[in-house]
């Protein structure tokens, strides 16, 4: 590892970036060295690879293992799916190292699936491929390819299953690895409608596994992780990439429709500390009721233009300034939606202000609970993930601020670029691991 690090340092350009403690868990997935990441990364693992220096016996052992992986490698297509309360997250591995021979053997519907997914950025009315998140030239299980990130609303699940049936997906004999509550809820629909068996996986296992993997391989040469510098100073608050060196212990706050908070001490040693029902679903649900908006994007757009102080009652609205007896700043929110107790103010409030207040309320509350959990668990690093944070800088900055301010700088908020996709990635990794274990 030291060698790898020094090489990294020489490269310099992509910043400090290493995987130190991920090593152990990484090898559990890629024990034979056949799995590796793409060009920028592969030198990190070359100590494990067949072509590096080593005793002949070791080399031959590695070669044998590579063979075995190749034999047991699951057939394409490789999917990982995370079916949440609001969104379905799908990751698709598109192999780019297909030989001509392979291409000839490839059945027609497999080819068509690949083309359909990779040549479009939108599917039907609601499916979206997050092109900017694509991980290129990634090596998994000895194959090189691109990892695509696709999402669509859980409401469209039946249409998706129908499509699987129409495309005769079951004939491909692939295992569909799925996690999230929907893996259980829709299991029977997959079976009866599309003749597909799901391999159901625990969502928290997948989340942690996927998160650690993506963090390790990085984001096309850049770090996956970031934080905000000067979180308490709105003028100078800037996003900064960083590494998750020694990722444990971390408090992992997953904000989907609801929120789960995990204390993670290693890949396999974690516990769900608590959760709250005030999550992304609450933000969107309340925004729809209050403003008549229809989508998360719309709600966030409105929120970005609004001013929550027209909706919320601040400490200074009650005390005329700071509440010194308790060290509360005048600008702190005393009562979310507190101004809305007054009819006149209700009648004149804008949708944008309401959307902003909803966003701020939910975000601050999550921050508050996360902070208490961090204190209870004695963990200083708080990692926020989940699709609530997608295109949501208001919330990420607010969380960074809340962690920093209320802990007097003790706690640090970290964020990850692939926000809501770790469960799906974790599911895909299970597919590869499951085959390996055969």
């Amino acid at each position: 590892m030291d060698k790898a690090k020094s090489m990294m340092d020489k490269k310099g350009a992509s910043g400090p970036f290493h995987v130190a403690n991920g090593q152990r868990s990484f090898t559990s997935v890629t024990a034979n060295g056949a799995c590796s990441s793409n060009g920028d990364m592969h030198h990190l693992h070359r100590g494990d690879e067949p072509d590096c220096t080593g005793s002949p016996a070791k080399r031959s052992r590695l070669r044998r293992r590579t063979e075995s992986v190749r034999r047991n490698r699951p057939p394409f297509p490789w999917f990982g799916m995370d079916i949440g309360g609001t969104l379905v997250k799908l990751v698709y591995f598109e192999p780019v190292d297909i030989t001509a021979e392979e291409e000839q053997e490839e059945v027609e519907n497999l080819k068509s699936i690949r083309r359909y997914l990779t040549s479009n950025v939108a599917y039907g009315k609601t499916g979206v491929r997050d092109v900017h998140l694509e991980l290129r030239n990634l090596t998994m299980c000895g194959r090189t390819g691109n990892l695509h990130f696709i999402r669509f609303p859980t409401q469209a699940m039946h249409r998706f299953i129908q499509m699987g049936s129409d495309k005769n997906f079951s004939s491909l004999h692939t295992t569909l690895c799925a996690t999230g509550g929907g893996a259980y809820k829709f299991e029977n629909d997959f079976r009866t409608m599309a003749d597909l068996e799901l391999l159901k996986l625990d969502e928290l296992d997948c989340l942690i596994r996927g998160l650690l993997f993506v963090d390790r391989v990085g984001f096309n040469g850049h770090p996956e992780c970031y934080y905000f510098q000067n979180p308490s100073d709105t003028q100078n608050c800037v996003k900064r990439p960083c590494t998750l060196d020694n990722p444990f212990p971390m408090l992992l706050v997953n904000i989907g429709s609801g929120v789960s908070i995990l204390a993670v001490h290693s890949q396999d040693n974690y516990k769900r500390v608590t959760g709250t029902s005030l999550g992304g679903g609450t933000f969107l649900g309340l925004c729809c009721l209050l403003t008549g908006c229809e989508t998360f994007e719309e709600a966030l757009e409105m929120a970005s233009k609004g001013d929550s102080t027209n909706v919320d009652k601040l400490v200074k609205d009650i005390y005329g300034g700071d509440y010194e007896r308790f060290g509360l700043q005048g600008s702190a929110v005393a009562s979310s939606f507190g101004h809305m107790m007054c009819k006149e103010r209700r009648d004149s409030i804008s949708k944008e202000d309401l959307a902003r207040a909803t966003l701020v309320t939910i975000t601050n509350n999550i921050g508050s609970i996360a902070r208490m959990c961090a204190v209870n668990e004695k963990i200083e690093r708080v990692v926020f993930v989940g699709n609530f944070l997608r295109i949501n800088t208001v919330s990420t900055k607010l969380l960074a601020y809340a962690m920093d301010f209320w802990s007097k700088g003790q706690l640090k908020a970290l964020f990850l670029e692939h926000e809501g996709y770790f469960g799906a990635v974790g599911a895909l990794m299970e597919l590869l691991k499951a085959s390996e274990d055969l």
Binding site: T276, G281, T282, G285, G338, M341, M372
Partner: protein
């Protein structure tokens, strides 16, 4: 509350408006003597506090100088009714809309000109500052809201038994009152106003806001109003109580199709509040949205409270603020949330007088020079409105509440009260044997019983004051007031904490005092005393002639026979009234023959053969045959064995007993201690501090509790850390029946704490 309006208060809401005329004798009482005002103005309710002195009559027994005995004939004493002045705290709660009317009223009736300042707290204090200063001519002195709240909270926790309760919606009695804890600190106070403040209280003066949340009552109200177009907070709560949150919330089963077993999350758990409303093309009912919002906010507050309780290692968490304020709906959701998040380890506690905390605290701030915390105070049941259920379907009467006035009055007690040091486990000690709040059958009986006896009490009250003015009218007012209290208690047994025989008696005493009837039985007692005193010497002489063994039994029978005389017990007063010659010997014949219903006499007798007790503490009745012919000879015997005896007697007859005992026995080892109350019941957790000191200093090793009120209605199950003797005759056939005995059955319970040589004695069937 109905006290301030016509008896049928359900109609008063609609007739009251801002120009109401206040019934002066009911609401702002004793304004003539009022001083030290404080006011707490909240978002919708104003709480006014002041201190007054109350003059009331007390019956005092005055002894004659016995060197001049001849001049007074045979009488050793006379009963004089004296004026006594006691301090009282008044707290009145009313809607902000009435504030001007109330200030005018106060101005017109305020006589005391010394008062210069009014302490003020609450969010609305600055808004009404000018009005108050103009109307009352008092300078408004603002006090910090949270400081007042905490001060008030400490005060009620310390002085009002059954102040705190656990709320259990589906239990037989929704309110489960907590015993007064010997130590009230540390605790967590979660105040849910428009926002939430979480305060850790470590001592009288040390507290800290350790956290809070902006999602509070204001969020429920503001967001609720936006979502449902419903303006009022109460209406929102009503909507919520009818809604189905599952139509709006996304549950675990909506995501998983069932439960999330590996994490132990049940299917019905809310995964995402309002998760189902994230859609454009669906309508949601107001009720469902309000319910979902209520759950969301309650769960969130509960979760935060638990997190803070855990970080600071606190197990007592009190909830207050307008979001809670007696609303069953919010108390239920908060309780549910706390149970869920702490897995039952922490209980959500609520306070009966939660709405008054700020006003009490502000008042205390202003009254610091009077040292109110050096005294013990007691809730006056006659002057206090009591806790109302705000559950709309439970009691249709309660809606009147918001339009009327709610009151709390507290009397300063003559003595500082502390717990008896001999209680085996002070924190689990419950004085009362039966909780009538939970026992519906017993409640029905006793409420009937007290109502049935009311005419007799009124008659006695009138007879006790033949020469006083307006006796008839006052007695009639007493009848109305007490009857109304009984009616209230029938609907809301939890109004003053757990309903017990003791609290029914106390309420009656407070109502009697209210109309200046300190002791309706004084005349009868006097007559009875005279008879008993004449017989005393003869009785003692015949006892002295008995052999030791016979005498021990005769003494116990004497105490029990004396106990048959009780004008408070209906069965007995009937007999006594019809046959005034009913004598002591007759009483002995009425007694059950051994074996008694509870019979530990053999063990007691064995004990008497052993070494004498060092010091005995004797809780006795206050006068009559009971004490003169029953207790005194028994005390004589104890003294002659070499035991020091402390007798605890209520005020009125203190001097009489002193006279008889001291003059009759002339024994230095007999001491008399005056109790603070005249209740026939006994709360061992609220006793004179002096007594507690004596008990500790003298190494008391025997406690004797005599009488139905002290030994059966209360303390029947009390566990003491020394030997104890509980003696009573059951003079109520219903109770006798319940205990498996009959009228005049005897309870003679001798207990030795475990660890010391134990004589187990057959116990009676549970009450």
């Amino acid at each position: 509350m109905a006290e301030c309006g016509p008896v049928d208060s359900s109609t008063s809401t609609h007739t009251m408006d801002k120009s109401i005329t206040l019934p002066p004798d009911e609401i702002f009482r004793n304004l003539e003597n009022a001083k030290r005002f404080a006011i707490d103005i909240g978002g919708s309710l104003t709480k006014l506090a002041y201190y007054s002195t109350v003059q009331h009559k007390v019956a005092k027994v005055r002894s004659f100088d016995h060197t001049a005995k001849e001049a007074h004939g045979d009488k050793l004493y006379e009963i004089a009714v004296q004026e006594e002045v006691t301090a009282r705290l008044h707290f009145i709660k009313f809607e902000n809309a009435y504030i001007e009317t109330c200030l005018d009223f106060i101005k017109d009736h305020l006589v005391n000109t010394e008062t210069k300042v009014i302490k003020a707290t609450g969010g609305g204090a600055h808004k009404f500052k000018d009005l108050i200063e103009r109307k009352l001519g008092l300078k408004v002195d603002k006090e910090d809201e949270m400081t007042c709240l905490i001060k008030g909270c400490n005060f009620v926790l310390r002085n009002i038994p059954h102040e705190a309760f656990v709320y259990a919606k589906h239990a037989d009695s929704e309110f489960r009152f907590q015993n007064t804890q010997p130590y009230i600190f540390p605790y967590l106070l979660v105040n849910i106003g428009s926002g939430v403040s979480i305060v850790k209280v470590e001592s009288e003066d040390k507290f800290e806001r350790i956290g809070g949340s902006s999602i509070g009552g204001g969020t429920f109200w503001g967001l609720g109003a936006l979502l449902t177009k419903t303006k009022r907070f109460d209406e929102l709560l009503q909507l919520a109580s009818k809604g189905q949150h599952t139509n709006v919330d996304m549950l675990v089963k909506d995501i998983y199709g069932g439960s999330y077993g590996s994490l132990g999350l049940t299917g019905d758990l809310i995964a995402s509040s309002f998760g189902k409303s994230a859609t454009a093309n669906k309508e949601f009912s107001k009720e469902d949205m309000a319910k979902s919002l209520l759950h969301m906010i309650s769960n969130d507050i509960g979760q935060l409270a638990c997190l803070y309780a855990k970080v600071h290692n606190l197990s007592r968490v009190y909830f207050g603020g307008f979001f809670i304020r007696g609303h069953p709906v919010t108390m239920h959701t908060i309780t549910y949330s706390i149970n869920y998040f702490t897995k039952g380890e922490v209980q959500a506690l609520f306070l009966r007088h939660e709405g008054y905390l700020g006003a009490i605290g502000a008042f205390l701030k202003g009254a610091e020079e009077d040292n109110p915390n050096q005294y013990s105070w007691g809730e006056n049941y006659a002057g206090s409105s009591g806790l109302m259920s705000v559950s709309p379907d439970m009691n249709p009467m309660q809606r009147a509440r918001s339009g009327t006035f709610d009151m709390l009055e507290m009397d300063r007690l003559e003595r500082q009260l502390v717990k008896l040091p001999l209680l085996q486990d002070p924190s689990s000690y419950i004085p009362d044997t039966v909780d009538l709040t939970e026992d519906a059958l017993a409640r029905e009986y006793w409420l009937f019983c007290f109502e049935d006896a009311l005419d007799g009490v009124v008659k006695r009250a009138v007879a006790s004051q033949p020469d006083m003015p307006e006796t008839q009218e006052r007695a009639e007012k007493f009848r109305q007031k007490y009857r109304h209290k009984l009616q209230t208690l029938r609907h809301q047994p939890f109004a003053y904490g757990s309903l017990t025989v003791r609290s029914l008696l106390d309420t009656r005493e407070h109502c009697l005092n209210e109309f200046n009837f300190p002791d309706p039985y004084s005349k009868i007692k006097q007559r009875e005393n005279d008879v008993a005193l004449k017989y005393y010497l003869k009785a003692v002489k015949s006892l002295d002639q008995l052999e030791w063994e016979e005498r021990q039994f005769a003494l116990i029978r004497g105490v029990l026979a004396g106990n048959v005389f009780d004008w408070g017990a209906k069965a007995v007063s009937d007999v006594l009234e019809s046959d005034p010659e009913f004598g002591f010997e007759e009483a002995k014949r009425q007694l059950e023959e051994r074996p008694w219903l509870v019979d530990c006499y053999d063990q007691w007798f064995e004990r008497l053969k052993g070494p004498p007790h060092r010091c005995a503490l004797f809780f006795v009745d206050n006068s009559g045959v009971d004490i003169i012919l029953g207790v005194i000879p028994f005390v004589r015997e104890l003294l002659s064995r070499g035991t020091e005896v402390y007798t605890y007697i209520s005020n009125a007859w203190f001097w009489l007993v002193t006279l008889v005992l001291r003059d009759g026995l002339r024994d230095e080892r007999l001491m008399l201690v005056q109790s603070g109350s005249s209740s026939p019941c006994l709360d061992l957790s609220r006793l004179d501090k002096v007594l507690a000191t004596v008990v500790r200093e003298r190494n008391t090793d025997l406690v004797i509790i005599e009488g139905m009120g002290r030994a059966i209605h209360t303390n029947y199950y009390a566990m003491l850390s020394c030997e104890s003797l509980k003696m009573a005759v059951i003079k109520n056939s219903w109770l006798a029946d319940r205990l498996g005995g009959k009228l005049f059955s005897v309870v003679f319970k001798y207990e030795v704490p475990a660890g010391k040589l134990s004589h187990d004695c057959s116990a009676a069937s549970p009450l």
